[in-house]
């Protein structure tokens, strides 16, 4: 699972896809996940990292991550 290469993410969670001209707004944790993906981290590693940092149980996190990745795919932000 990789983020498309030329996507730009700003400090305050603003995301721009130059391929399509689409802009998005991320919440802080969304931004964190995308930055990790951009750096090439695996989804498993990212989950582990979030589990350590946030007050959340594994099931909720997995559900939410799954959903988040689906929507990233839907917006055409991921490389297959």
């Amino acid at each position: 699972m990789k983020l498309k290469k030329n996507i730009a993410i700003s400090e305050n969670g603003f995301l721009f896809n130059p391929e399509t001209g689409d802009s998005f707004i991320l919440n802080p944790i969304g931004k964190e996940i995308l930055n990790q993906l951009k750096e090439g981290q695996s989804v498993t590693d990212i989950k582990q990292l979030l589990l350590e940092r946030y007050d959340v149980d594994l099931v909720s996190l997995e559900k939410n991550m799954e959903d988040f990745l689906v929507i990233l795919q839907h917006h055409g932000l991921l490389d297959r």
Binding site: N27, I29, Y54, D55, V56, M65, D67, H74
Partner: protein
């Protein structure tokens, strides 16, 4: 090390040049308490879903409405529209504030009597009055509002047999410049039907004409329509006086005042567009005061306002069952409140609000009820916070028509609570039970066993 507060990750597309209709801000309001009582406490004790009614809110709203009219016109009487909410506790609050009863069936009539309202303070409307209903109403001296010529003849016969005069009002439908025209109820003014029937009532040996009634429709935001209707009713009152030297006791302008809910498809929220009681009162009373009616003959002004008096006092509490992603990428949240409990979600874009917010983040979400039916949509496409399974939601402004038009479908009807002026909680309608439900049924012998 203490862990950070968690919220689920989201990404929202920015539609440049297409801010939503109220600008870019999508701050979600929160309702955590009802009349000072924490919603979490209520749900812990009584479960979910559940209706909650605020007694102080009913009283304040009623007093506001009453003041708006009484400060402009000397003789005003509200009659509580039972169909809007006929839970006895709710009716009793209105009656204790001085409201009479407006009923449209034998069932409602009986409720009004059992709630302590004397027959001569009951307005009996509607097209469906049975023989027993009419006989009782004649004997009680209730105000029987005729809906059709058939009913006029039938009532005449019954009153004759009982040898007692019936107190009669005439339901009139008229053109006040609004659409739809509710011309299926009562007698039409413009084509002369109403005048014709008025004359028949005046000449009837067993009828006493007390007043005229119109109810133009519901959720009427045009105060001018009330001015037009009032003028037409006042003219008719004068015409009657000119011909018979007869003074009508009352003019009943019905209900129809809008509540602050937002109609589906409306561009602006109802809280911005809904006229105030003062606006309605000004329109109606200034026509009456400016009319040909001399001060000593000013009729009692009766109002049958329903939704505007009770909508704000009702809250529905529920919880999130699941979050889903639809095939086209939209977010869906399923809650345990369905359209069977919230009939008004067919007319209104109800607000669905959280009881607490962990962050300001929202996502475009469609909110579904729990029924296995496609029509079970509580709210289409709202900016909704990131709630998780089990989180509570509140739907405010549901006091009108939901606790009467609720349907028993798939599940039993939820209980209803009342919070009184001392913040005490009362269970005013119990949760329905399987036993009660089954007690109504009968399985034929050959299917038993």
């Amino acid at each position: 090390m203490k862990k950070l507060d968690y919220e689920r990750p989201i990404i929202n597309k920015v539609n440049a040049g297409m801010p939503d209709k109220f600008g870019m801000s999508t701050r979600v309001p929160v309702i955590s308490h009802i009349e000072g009582v924490a919603i979490t406490d209520i749900m812990k004790q009584f479960g979910s879903p559940i209706y909650v009614i605020s007694e102080p809110c009913i009283r304040e709203t009623f007093q506001q409405a009453q003041k708006a009219f009484l400060s402009r016109y000397p003789r005003v009487q509200f009659a509580w529209s039972y169909k809007t909410n006929y839970l006895n506790a709710v009716c009793k609050i209105f009656h204790s504030e001085g409201a009479w009863a407006e009923v449209v069936s034998g069932f409602e009539y009986t409720k009004a009597i059992e709630n302590g309202i004397p027959g001569n303070q009951i307005i009996f409307n509607g097209p469906d009055k049975s023989r027993e209903d009419l006989e009782r109403a004649i004997k009680d001296g209730a105000m029987i509002h005729l809906d059709s010529l058939d009913e006029f003849y039938y009532l005449g016969e019954l009153a004759h047999k009982l040898d007692k005069k019936a107190n009669v009002g005439l339901r009139i439908n008229l053109d006040a410049g609004i659409y739809p025209k509710w011309d299926r109820f009562g007698f039409n003014l413009e084509n002369g039907e109403a005048w014709n029937v008025l004359n028949r009532v005046m000449l009837h040996e067993y009828m006493v004409l007390l007043g005229l009634h119109t109810h133009m429709g519901t959720y009427i935001t045009s105060v001018n329509a009330y001015a037009v209707a009032t003028r037409k009713m006042a003219d008719l009152t004068n015409r009657l006086f000119r011909k018979y030297k007869y003074e009508l006791k009352y003019l009943d302008l019905g209900g129809g005042f809008a509540s602050k809910n937002t109609l589906k498809g409306a561009y602006l929220p109802g809280s911005d567009t809904c006229p105030s009681f003062d606006d309605y009162a000004e329109a109606i009373t200034s026509v009456l005061l400016d009319s040909e009616l001399p001060p000593e003959r000013l009729p009692l002004l009766i109002l049958e306002s329903g939704r505007a008096l009770v909508d704000d006092s009702g809250f529905m509490l529920g919880s999130v069952l699941a979050n889903k992603r639809l095939a086209d990428g939209r977010r869906a949240t399923v809650i345990d409140i369905g359209v069977n409990m919230l009939f008004t979600s067919f007319w209104y874009d109800h607000e669905v609000l959280p009881t607490q917010l962990k962050s300001e983040q929202t996502e475009n979400t469609t909110i579904y009820g729990p029924l296995c039916m496609n029509i079970d949509v509580i709210r289409e496409a709202v900016q909704f916070p990131l709630l998780q399974r089990g989180d509570a939601v509140v739907i405010p402004r549901i006091g009108a028509y939901n606790m009467t038009q609720w349907m028993q479908f798939i599940k039993l009807r939820p209980p209803v609570l009342l919070i009184d002026t001392d913040k005490q909680i009362h269970l005013i309608r119990k949760k329905e039970t399987n036993e009660q439900f089954n007690a109504m049924e009968n399985v034929p012998e050959h299917l038993k066993g």
